[in-house]
Subunit: 385 residues, 2 copies
Amino acid sequence: MREVAVLGIGATPVEEQWEKSLRELAGEASLAAMQDAGLDTIQSIFIGNMMSGSANHQQHLGVYLADWLDMRFAEGLRVEAACSSGAAAFRSALMAVASGEVDTALSVAVEKMTDSPSTEITAELATAADADWETDQGLSFVALNALVMQRYMYEHHWQHDDFANFSINAHANGVHNPNARFRKPITIETYRKSPIVADPITVMDASPMGDGAAAAILVPVEALRRYGVTQTIQVIGSGAATDSIAVHGRKDPTWLTAAERSAKQAYQQAGCTPKDMDLFEAHDAFTIMATLSLEASGFAERGQGVRLALDEEIRPNGRIPIATRGGLKARGHPVGATGMYQIIEVVQQLRGQAGENQIADARIGMAQNIGGSGSNIITHILKSA
Amino acid sequence: MREVAVLGIGATPVEEQWEKSLRELAGEASLAAMQDAGLDTIQSIFIGNMMSGSANHQQHLGVYLADWLDMRFAEGLRVEAACSSGAAAFRSALMAVASGEVDTALSVAVEKMTDSPSTEITAELATAADADWETDQGLSFVALNALVMQRYMYEHHWQHDDFANFSINAHANGVHNPNARFRKPITIETYRKSPIVADPITVMDASPMGDGAAAAILVPVEALRRYGVTQTIQVIGSGAATDSIAVHGRKDPTWLTAAERSAKQAYQQAGCTPKDMDLFEAHDAFTIMATLSLEASGFAERGQGVRLALDEEIRPNGRIPIATRGGLKARGHPVGATGMYQIIEVVQQLRGQAGENQIADARIGMAQNIGGSGSNIITHILKSA
C-alpha cells in the first residue's frame, strides 16, 4: 500500500451562489487545487455530491466536471454517502492512489442547494434517512436530531444552555475564514433568543445549508520530490463505518458507534490516540452531533462531550480545538461538500495557512464526516512532516 | 498493487419487480454472491446506482444495504456514473482491495425503475446527459443515440436492416438466461416490423429498462487459498475514461474515444489484445452503441462494426461473441446495475457456468460499460486460471 499525500487544496466560499452553476463551483475549487498543486492535468476525478440529480437535474458529475476542466479522457465518477459524500470521495481517491492504479487523483465535493425551494431540499435531505421507516412517518432530519438531543439531555442531565459554546466557538472562528457563510460572532444571548426549529434544537444549534465546493489533489508520497514539495501533508489514517440507517435500529441512539469504529480504524492506522490530535474538525451539523462525535472519538467520556464546550476546551487554545474555521455551523454545510471542507481546513492548519484561526504548532489533525443521523461516519487523520 | 479475484457472484432476474423493494433486490443479489463466496461478512460495500434518489426517494444506499444485510458497521458508499455506475462500483471495489486497505469487498449494483411513470424515468435518464446544453433543448437519451446512428449510417453507407443481427443474436442468447427480461427469439421480420422510437432507432434497436441487482465479492488473489478455491477468476485489466458529456463536444460523434482509451488501458494492464478475448460483453443499450463499442475496442475497423453482425461473428461460435447471455437488449438494462450484470456474465462464462450459452473454452473475457452517450466508459478484462 503506497503512502499518500495531499499536494494541493482549493475551495469556493460557502454562500448563496446564484450566479454560478454547479459545474462552475466544482470547477473553481478543482482548478484552485490544481494550481495549488502545480498540476495542469489529473488522471482520476472522484466527486462527492448528494443531491445534484434532483436539485440541479444533473447526475453523472464525474464526466460533467472532467469536461468543464477540459481534462478530456480522465476517469470520472461520483461518490455518494449523503452528508458524508465529501469524505467518501476523499477516501475513494485515497484508495485509488494507494493501490498504485492512479498517480494523480482529484477529490472534489460540491453541493448547490439554494436554487431550489427549501421544502424540496428538506425532502431531499430526508433521502439520507430510511425512506420506508423514518421519512414516510414524517420525520425530517432536524426532527431526528431533536429526538436524539432530547434523549441525551434527559439521560445525562444537561440543559439547552450547556450546548451554547459549540455555537459560540464556531461563529467566533468563522469570522476569520473568508470561505465561511457567516462571519459574525454570537453571544450567549443570541443563542438563548434563537427560535426553535424542532425542540430542543434552535436555529443556533443547527448548521445552515449553502452552495460550495472544496477539492484536494492526492499523490503518492514517493512522488512528492518530483513535485518539488518541502512540506509533506500525509494522510496517515482513514476509517469508515456504518450503523443502522434508522435511528430506532440502534441499541443506544445517543452513542455514535460508527464514529467510534471509524475513529478507531484511523487511530490504529496512524499509530495515534486522541491525545495526539492538535485539532479536530468535527461534524457539528447540530450541537448534539458535535457532542456525540467528541465522545465516540475518545475526546470525552460518555455523556461528557458537553463538558468540553462548557470548559472552553474546544476553543482554538483549548485541549481539542474544533470547528477551527467555523465548522458546519458558521462556515456552512453544503451537504455533500462538507467532508471535503473539513479536510482542506485540516490541511490549512497543518500548513500554517489558517491565518487568524491558526492553531499553534499544529502537526496532526483529524476530520470526521457524518452521514445521515450517524449512520455513515468517515474519519481521516493527516500529519505534517 | 495486490492482484484481485472474484470470489462470488449473484444476481436477481431483470424484470418488473413490483413485489420487491430496492433493498430487497440489492440484498438478494448480495446474499447470493456472499453464499457463492462462502462468506458471511464483508468489510466494505460499493453500491452502484443511478436514480434511487428520485425513483425510490432513497439515497445513502451504502448504509441502507449494510443495514439490510445486518452487516453492522461495514463500510458503505454509493458510486454513480450514470449508466456506467455498475462498472464504476466494481472498479472502486477493485482499487480498494488492490490498495490493501480492504480485504473483502462487495461490489453490487441495483436499479428499480418500473415503479415510476415512464415520463419520470425518461427525464431521470436525461440527467446523464448535459442538463444545460442537451436536456434543456428537449433531447432525450434515445434521441441522442438516434442522431449518432443517423450520422453513422450516412457516413459508412449502412442500412437499418444491417444492424438486425445485434438484436437477433441478443434475443437468441437471452432465451437460455434465467435472469433475462425477454426469453423469446426474434427474427429479421420482428426487427423490420418494429415501431420507430426515434428515427432510425426502433424498439428492436433499443434495450428495455427493468428492475434488478447483480453483485460480486472481490478478494486478494493471495487470500484465495484460505477460501479453498481451486479456480481463480482474476481481474487482469481495468480502465476508465471519459469524453465530453455532450455529444456535440466531440470531434467525431461516431467514434467512442473513451471506449478506445479505457479498452487500451485494460489491454495494457492485462497484456492482451482484442484477439485474446473469448467473449465481449458489450454495452448494447442501442444497436449503434454495440457497433461503436466493437470498433473502438479494436474488434473492427472504423465503420465496420456492423460487418461483424452481418457476418454472424458476434454469435456464440463466432470470432467475438457478444451479449452471450442476452446483453442489454434481452437480459435487460436496469441502468445503474447493468455494468455488474456484464461482469457476472463474464465470470459465469469463465467458470463454465453459462449453461446453454456457454462459450467453448472461454478463458479470457471482457466487459465494457458505457455511461451517458459514450461519455464515461469502463472496461474490465477477467481471466480464468
